[in-house]
Amino acid sequence: MNNLAIYRTKLRYTYTAFVRTMHHNLFLIIGFYGLLLTLIACILTPWLASNIDQLYPLKRFLMPAWFEQGDINHILGIDNTGKDIFKRLLWALQTSLAITLLITLYVILIGTVMSLWTVFCRPAAHIVLLSIQTITAIPPLLMMMILSLFSGNTLNNLMMVVGVSLLPRFIHNLYNMVNNELKKTYIIALRLDGLSIMNIMRYSVFPNILANFVSECIAIFTTCLLALTTLTFLNFGIESDYNELGVMMREMIAIMPINQWAFIAPGLAILCVILLLNFFDYGLQQARSYRD
């Protein structure tokens, strides 16, 4: 019983601290709640836009709702195949963000392991540096072409290419962060005290680079989203049948002379997500600098 009370107090304390941090400034409020809304919209997409396959052949080329010819049931109108554009947008946003999140997670996992490996194993640093330079010499578009020439123009290959093209930057930045922190005097003092390197990493290095690490992850996410939509826009990864923001943009070019909002909407969705992420990042930095 006593344990439960302590647990409750702890939980309440954590919750208050969380709210106090998140309501610190306007950027953080907009960024956090905007991202939360986007997340909820993505989770609820199967219910919000359940009948995506339903066609409206009679209402093809319908204008958005705020035009005179528009219909409020189809907010962004109907495209040339008879599908509701707003529902397509919701599904495409969900797919894009899910793919981007997956790539970002892989990049962070592999990049962290590789950069720590380069920090602690000197000979490995040369190999990693060499492979980084080799990878950056091949444009991602060309890499995708090579892969799709041999193993098909699939989504897996696309994800691999985007991930590999993002890895060098992540490894380089994380390596610099950890290395600069390890060079500081207090770390050397801790080492001379006889602390193990695991302890130093866990209790001294990691808390100090956490803020920069989070902004680096956010930067990776935004770059990944932009790269992914660019490549899918150019017809890559088309063998797996899916609806994604870049694919949607490419297909909407056909009805652009009639309904340009069908093309603007997917790009605007990307713009909003990235802006919210940047607000969140900036707000976190401000809150941190205030506390310091």
Binding site: T136, I138, P139, L142, L226, I253, P266, G267, I270, L271
Partner: protein, 318 residues
């Protein structure tokens, strides 16, 4: 320092070796190329022999001259890239200095907000929007540039060829070519421009806090003189190494922009090769991009060392 430079040059050569192996692998494994039909060692020796002599085999009888391809394909892309680099460096440094000199002024906030919003736009989205916006405007979005390439191709770069050709209305042709470059060049230079703004404004803020600037601002009357003689020479050298990153980004996106705008160049050539499932084109493109990017990397590294031999030393002292 000589050891450092030699080390870099050896790394450069080693990376080129790796890339040429990759290029051979693509040419050998892709079906449809002539090297695919030979045994491994014959294909290996034949491919590198052909690559060095500059004539690649398309079929048993036809050869493809590497020199002609490079002369046709590369100059428009390089011209576009150089235009974007110049544009992004000039606008980026100007805006960066303005933003960095007064960090609390509204102009800084405006520039930061603008760059934040524009950097969040997908580049293809911007390109297609601009194209549809200016599709009817032939002044801003002409169908073709100067036709000098079809009349009198000498170097392959239209702007240089305009000056080399006699009996020509030079200003008119030059304006035509610049109009053709303008829209893709502006779109291409957006992201590097924003990176330059961030870098320069950070550096300006950092340099303005230094003791020597405070000392000189007591003695010197003219603010402009302080800026030109004491701040900028300390700001610019630290940005040159970051130029590599900008150039890499510009070349990556130049390929994409060329495909979208349907301009002749490296991008459309590679894309056509990919659509035709032509492994040889992609193999050559790997070599071209590799040589270009690695050489730029090495070149900028050498310049950095010449300007600031103790760049890393300074960092350790802080």
């Amino acid at each position: 320092m000589i050891i450092y430079i030699l080390k870099k040059i050896f790394t450069y050569l080693f990376i080129l070796l790796l890339l040429s192996q990759l290029s051979f692998a693509v040419a050998y494994l892709a079906s449809g190329t002539i090297y695919n039909q030979y045994a491994f060692f014959y294909a290996y020796l034949g491919y590198f022999g052909d690559l060095l002599s500059g004539r690649l085999l398309i079929s048993n009888y036809d050869t493809l001259s590497l020199g002609t391809i490079i002369k046709q394909v590369l100059p428009p892309t390089i011209e576009l890239c150089l235009f974007a680099v110049l544009l992004s460096s000039i606008t980026g440094s100007l805006l960066g200095i303005i933003a960095g000199l007064k960090p609390d002024h509204w102009s800084n906030k405006l520039i930061q907000a603008g760059s934040l919003i524009i950097s969040a736009c997908p580049i293809v989205w911007l390109a297609v929007l601009m194209m549809s916006l200016f599709a009817s405007n032939h002044y801003l979005f002409p169908d073709s540039g100067s036709l000098i390439e079809q009349i009198n191709p000498k170097t392959g770069f239209p702007i240089i060829d305009v000056f080399l050709t006699p009996d020509l209305n030079r200003s008119q042709e030059l304006i035509k070519e610049l109009q053709y470059l303008a829209l893709p060049g502006i779109i291409l230079s957006i992201h590097p421009c924003i990176i330059t703004i961030q870098l320069i404004s950070q550096q300006v803020v950092k340099v303005a806090k230094q003791k020597y600037i405070q000392a000189i601002s007591i003695r010197e009357q003219s603010q402009l003189k302080i800026l030109l003689r004491h701040m900028l020479p300390n700001v610019f050298p630290s940005i040159i190494p970051r130029l590599t990153y900008n150039l890499t980004i510009i070349l990556y996106s130049a390929i994409i922009i060329e495909i979208i705008f349907k301009r002749p160049g490296l991008g459309t050539w590679v894309m056509q090769g990919f659509v035709d499932k032509n492994g040889l084109v992609i193999a050559i493109a790997i070599m071209i991009c590799g040589v270009l990017l690695c050489s730029l990397n090495l070149f900028i590294m050498l310049i950095t060392i010449m300007i600031q031999p103790l760049r890393h030393q300074e960092l350790y002292d802080e």
